[in-house]
């Protein structure tokens, strides 16, 4: 891990829905902002997401879910990350998420929830400001 290591982020699509427009637009925006982006593809289980995050040694995970299953899927990812001692990975989520669920998701460990209308610039700024891993911290861009 050199000084110039870029932020590595996994953009993941948990759940059964195929709405990947948001995930792809954000993946591209993060890449254009200089991050290394790994896109998981569709219908990833929480186990698959956590395993990909560990294998790819990412600093952050961005999850997108528009099926309504976010409470189950996002919180399961957080549980698995803690089990694997990877609780230092920054996790953010987005999708069709009612306001009432946002505090519960944050309690489960998500750093932020970005709902429709969020600007990619805000998401990029948030990720840059909040990644916790030392390797990435040394490279503020």
């Amino acid at each position: 891990m050199g000084e110039d290591r870029k932020i590595r982020i996994l953009v993941a699509k948990p759940g059964l829905d195929g709405h990947d427009r948001g995930a792809k637009v954000i993946a591209r925006a993060l890449r254009d902002a200089g991050m290394e982006v790994i896109y998981s593809g569709l219908r990833q289980t929480p186990e698959m997401i956590v395993s990909a995050a560990l294998q790819e040694d990412v600093d952050a995970i961005g999850m997108s879910c528009l099926s309504g299953a976010h409470m189950h899927l996002f919180t399961r990812v957080m549980e698995l990350l803690r089990e694997k001692n990877a609780g230092d990975i920054l996790v953010v989520g987005g999708g069709i998420i009612p306001d009432e669920d946002i505090p519960k998701l944050k309690e489960a460990g998500l750093a932020a929830v970005f709902t429709p209308g969020s600007s990619t610039q805000d998401i990029i700024a948030f990720v840059k400001a909040n990644v916790k891993r030392p390797a990435a911290m040394s490279n503020e861009q």
Binding site: G15, H19, R21, R31, V37, L42, I97, D99, P116, G117
Partner: protein, 565 residues
Amino acid sequence: MYDREALDRLDRERKRWEAETLGPFTRESPERTTPFTTVSGKPIQRLYTPLDVPQMDHARDLGFPGEYPFTRGVYPTMHRGRFWTMRMYSGYGSPEETNRRYKFLLGQGQTGLSVAFHLPTLMGYDSDHPMAAGEVGKAGASIDSVEDMEVLLEGLPLGDVTTSMTITSTAAVAWAMYIAVCERMGIPHARIGGTIQNDILKEYIAQKEFIFPIRPSLRLVTDTIVFGSRHLPRWNTISISGYHIREAGATALQEMAFTIADGVTYVEEAIRAGLDVDDFAPRLSFFFDLHNDLFEEIAKFRAARRLWARLMRERFKAKNPRSWMLRTHSQTAGVSLTAQQPYVNIARVALQALAGVLGGAQSMHTNSMDEALALPTQDAALIALRTQQVIAHESGVTNTIDPLAGSYFVEKLTNEMEEGAVEYLRRIDEMGGMVRAIEMGFPQQEIADSAYQYQRAVERGDKVIVGVNMFEDPEERRPIPILIIDEELRGRQVARLARLRKTRDKDRWQEAMDALRAAAVGRDPWGKDLLMPKILGAVRARATVGEIVGALREVWGEHTEPSII
């Protein structure tokens, strides 16, 4: 339509107007600086005149309503005869809850049914499958077997209203369940009317609810088209859908062009399966998005009708005028709804619905104002239905047919939309057809690029979204009531499945499943033995969606897509 001399005179007059009137005016008072483009990014001129449509020929390009090339509408009286079908796409939670919502909406004047299934049904998993965890009843009604379908449809006038089922990879199974329920209600096959979405190509392109690889999927679609043409003459066996292509980020032109290209592919496949084009083409139906840009949307519908009519008559030599008609469902743009200031969505939906009416749609769903947050509450769905009723009964726009015909602007947009689509079709033909284009990732990449460009335009402020990048509410979020799905539902569906598996006739089930598997293995891709009767047999033997799709998965495998960002 215009003679040369008149056009020359007009051209001189326009130049004079620009020099004498427009020029001095704009020097004093310049135009706004935001780009004048459609929501799809297409530049729009200040003014349109006959100079923009110099060759317009009413007989050739527009025709009369109900006649080729159907630019002005597919029926001679259009909305003066009958309003479009008001068909609210609904489904959530259990089959019982969804049934109550259908009865409520029919009681409020809805004129057609549209079933939203939950994702496990769409993806071929039963509610007790691990992949269904967290998803049961969330994005639609939980339907695992024909028993759930019976509950869903209980007490509904299925001989009188038509039912549209928004389902594709597992459409054949849902259709079989619907037919089986109608049989038990005593409704003859010839009277069962409705639509299955069944457009698998747009799944690979945009909606991404695919299961099997493309070839066996197309075989299954063609199988249903053949079965329908033989046994259910009132059923639309496919709804060739631009909606999801648009929602995934396509421009209006890309939506129309890719949808027509998908339609061409289904026609080719059915002809290859041995059907005469006029045997099935009258039952092909379409489904387009209604986005914010009023005139662009209207032009899209008009151009799609004209292009489809020309293709069916000239390319496929269809003889029956019904084969030339592009009949279409429409839905307001879910992607245009904002989570911020959700009540403003009511205004957006009204304008979008107006485009559908002026564009000549046959059927419509209007989104509810709360759908950027969750599935709609009953009250929100009622406002959306009422919006259609206000347009139909109060606005006066239904008094005459295709009221925007002859507008220099709308006719020019219509021409450009058709020309642009013809160019896309040419490129797709060059690639070897739509299946090959999809395998190469062509439409997927075009859509991803458009989606990204749109997002950037919004973030630059070139595209204004009220309440999001202009006129933001300082109070951020004012809460509105939200539909909450019961988390205990999965447990009840799992128990229902266990009971079903325990009580059904096991020998009959086994026999039906074996017959299905054998038919799926069949080497002859267009075998005499259709799959549809075998699926129907399995459904009647109380096989579940997960079991039927599981058997086909074993034989055909699954599709995996390359990631195109």
